[in-house]
């Protein structure tokens, strides 16, 4: 039904909140289908914000009351040292998404064809638990010696499937808080700890890898539950892309046809940087080197590709130089993604 003629005359009243509830709904359902009305509505709303000159101020004390109320309504990201800021931010962003879910959303399949949203959170808690154990935070159930990421996930899944989503969420968040707290305290020092997350990673890289995986699964959960979400902040995407680029030679050395003494250059738009990467981890990167291929693509799409969430054959990429090599490297990239 086209309400354009009715809505056009109501837009001014709508922008002033001077319509009946029914008319307000009518206007809002028309906006979004009609570019002209949407544009006018936007302009009139902006104008309405200028009806009063804003020179009154809330009383003293209002700010402190607000900040304390905000903390109790929604916890901020846990305080963390700079290298763990992307991790802390992903914890907060995922909690925001999860806190909005209805009971039936938790049962939706969100990844790997069989993991529900609840399972996926248990999986994230399990892998975070490997970091937690490495920095001396007690975890439930206790880790077994030599327990890898997959075994850890299986153990935590068994436990969490007996519990409610709210319980899983509480212990997942408490564990993340405890990890950040331990990192802030600085024992052990970040340089002295290695965490095995499929790859053995120094502590700082392990936290970046955690941030990366949490974000990728946040997108899985948002897609499975029809929720909106946002990509990580640029300053958090950068270390994620950097880690992925540094790890790439470990998969290209096994999946790209020799000769392996070649280099590719990644120009990741939005990251403000380009990386020259060898095909094999043992190859040094000289100061001046001519890459065999240059791949230009969006940093977010690059991260989704290495996170196993994009088809390398269909990703939007610009290739210069050796196209065959570039295609092989793209095809190898998703092999970096942990399963699921």
């Amino acid at each position: 039904m086209d309400n354009h003629e009715t809505v056009v005359h109501l837009i001014g009243a709508w922008a002033l909140d001077a319509c009946s509830t029914v008319e307000e709904k009518l206007v809002e359902s028309h906006l979004g289908t009609c570019p002209a009305c949407t544009e006018e509505a936007r302009g009139l709303r902006e104008a309405a914000a200028g009806i009063v000159d804003d020179h009154l101020r809330p009383p003293a004390g209002a700010r402190a009351r607000l900040l304390s109320a905000a903390r109790s309504r929604r916890r901020p990201a846990p305080a963390a040292p700079a290298y763990a800021a992307p991790y802390a931010a992903q914890i907060a962003a995922l909690e925001l998404l999860l806190s909005d879910l209805a009971p039936e959303h938790w049962r939706r399949i969100a990844a790997d064809g069989e993991l529900t949203v609840h399972d996926l959170l248990a999986h994230l808690a399990a892998t975070d638990g490997l970091v937690a154990a490495a920095v001396g935070v007690p975890v439930q159930p206790p880790t077994e010696p030599g327990e890898g990421a997959a075994a850890r996930t299986a153990a935590v899944l068994r436990r969490e499937r007996q519990r409610s989503p709210e319980q899983t969420m509480r212990s997942w968040r408490a564990q993340a808080d405890a990890v950040c707290h331990a990192l802030l305290a600085g024992h052990p020092s970040p340089g002295s700890v290695t965490v095995d997350l499929g790859w053995p990673l120094p502590l700082a890289d392990a936290l970046t890898a955690r941030a990366f995986e949490i974000w990728i699964h946040r997108e899985d959960i948002a897609a499975a539950t029809g929720r909106r979400t946002v990509t990580p902040l640029p300053e958090h995407l950068h270390p994620m892309a950097d880690l992925a680029v540094r790890l790439l030679p470990r998969v290209t050395s096994r999946r790209v046809a020799p000769p392996l003494d070649r280099y590719v250059r990644w120009r990741l738009t939005g990251a403000g940087e380009a990386w020259t990467v060898p095909l094999h981890p043992s190859m040094p990167v000289p100061a001046v080197v001519r890459p065999a291929a240059v791949l230009t693509l969006d940093v977010v799409e690059f991260c989704r590709l290495v996170g196993g969430r994009r088809d390398p054959a269909r990703i939007a990429v610009e290739i210069e130089g050796d196209t065959t090599l570039a295609r092989e490297v793209l095809a190898a990239a998703p092999a970096m993604a942990p399963v699921p």
């Binding site: 902006e46 914000a49 009806i51 009154l56 809330p58 929604r74 931010a89 909690e95």
Partner: protein, 203 residues
């Protein structure tokens, strides 16, 4: 007139800043929340105070607007308008709801009619809010509009009247009230745009 000013695309820099602040809130950044408050407390509180005439009610509205932004930052979509416009809308809707509820309550309980448009009791915010002179409460830009347009907008926006009530109050057909509200806002948009363009030149 109006059309060209309305369809001017938002400065991409401002839209980018709004999106970034929103994204920092999504990521649980308390510093971003404090910045949001510092940037917009005055806008939100002034709208709430001008509509409710009640300092306590205005503070409550202000708290709820900012808490909503902290708890549901993704409800704000930068592509659809500015953060300033979004917060102003949330403040106004909440304030008007409060006034209308109070009005309905007063009508049903048949209490003696209080000062027009005022929410009961509360602590008025000094002479800033108790000043009943409507003109005093309007922006310089709105006061520059033809008087009949400014008056229609003030009745709707500040007194929380629907356009039907505005029509009754002014003795106009409903269609005329609707078009005066629209025309008034369109002219205000142009005036505000010119104002901002001047600001830009000064910088």
């Amino acid at each position: 007139m109006g059309r060209s000013a309305l369809s001017q695309p938002r400065r991409t820099g401002a839209a980018h800043d709004d999106a970034r602040l929103r994204d920092r809130l999504v990521h649980g950044d308390e510093t971003a929340f404090a910045e949001l408050y510092e940037q917009f407390e005055s806008l939100v509180f002034t709208i709430a105070a001008r509509v409710t005439h009640d300092g306590q009610a205005a503070e409550d509205v202000t708290q709820e607007v900012f808490l909503a932004m902290w708890q549901r930052p993704l409800a704000f979509e930068p592509a659809k308008g500015s953060l300033r416009g979004w917060l102003a809308m949330m403040a106004h809707r909440r304030a008007v709801d409060l006034v209308r509820r109070e009005e309905a309550h007063r009508r049903t309980s048949q209490d003696e009619r209080l000062h027009a448009g005022a929410v009961s009791g509360g602590d008025p915010v000094g002479d800033q809010v108790t000043d009943a002179d409507t003109a005093q409460r309007l922006s310089t830009a709105l006061k520059a509009l033809p008087r009949h347009l400014g008056r229609a907008i003030a009745l709707a926006y500040l007194e929380g009247h629907t356009y039907r009530e505005v029509a009754t109050e002014l003795g106009l057909p409903e269609g005329t009230a609707k078009s005066q509200l629209r025309e008034g806002l369109r002219r205000l948009a142009v005036a505000l745009n010119d104002l901002h363009a001047d600001d830009g030149q000064e910088r």
